[in-house]
Symmetry: C2
DNA sequence: TGACAACTTCTACAACTGTAGTAGAATGCT
DNA sequence: AGCATTCTACTACAGTTGTAGAAGTTGTCA
């Protein structure tokens, strides 16, 4: 499932807390995003049509909650990027990240630990 | 600079070898991409307008070459993804990759080495 | 030199995206 | 009950993207 830029904004708010009303989402959008209320509704409607969000009419007002998990959305986005820009493989992608982006020492340590931990879990299986 | 899906296809061919003609690019497109020749031309024109590609009319035929480097295109794409889906930070992105994607042992080793190497370079600066 | 091939530029057009207005229904306050 | 507020559903509309046809121009080979 592929999300557009605007849809990511909405989903990010929704994942942060749900069920949520359109109004609630409006309030949790980043300060610099100034969308008309109806814009948010439109986006939500599209997300419902896509099956990324569930809508629950509660009397007068709709409550929304994600069907697509953040996990999965991230996975798709990364997969997509890997395909487009890294020959479909994650290895080169990570490589690029490590070489290109400046990591602080603590970030590096954290990564090392993460890799090792993941390693151990793997072994114990 | 943001590239669309179709534009990535073109750019990938162009980075692989340039200067290149539209015909040449057509030939190097993945087998499953079957675009009319004019489709490729349209995309190239748009890329030129965007400033991602330079066009060089050689008599009857145009030669194209990238102005946008692969490096930079990748950087932008990653930055964009990080912003959208990982609160703008690369740390969590990498973390996600490491935890979520199954790495083979050798991939892990390679990463460890890469991190360490990068570390050393950093120190020696 | 004429005909076919290969190029180029223009135009087209539907689907998707970003962004929002309008009108009518439901709710709430006095 | 009546008016203001707040929702919702529907419509709109320009810009971007994917995809390509048409028509004119240049090159090439017999």
């Amino acid at each position: 499932m592929k999300l557009t830029d605007a849809e990511w904004q909405i989903m990010n708010c929704l994942w942060e807390r749900y069920p949520a009303t359109a109004r609630g989402i409006a309030e949790r959008l980043p300060k610099d995003v100034e969308w008309a209320y109806t814009t948010i509704k439109t986006l939500l409607t599209r997300l419902v049509e896509k099956g990324a969000v569930k809508e629950n009419k509660k009397g007068n007002t709709s409550l929304y909650e994600p069907l697509l998990s953040k996990q999965n959305a991230r996975r798709s986005a990364l997969k997509n990027l890997a395909n487009q820009a890294f020959d479909g493989a994650f290895g080169p992608l990570m490589h690029f990240l490590i070489e290109d982006e400046k990591l602080t020492d603590s970030q590096k340590n954290e990564l090392l630990k993460a890799i090792q931990k993941q390693d151990k879990k793997e072994k114990s299986k």
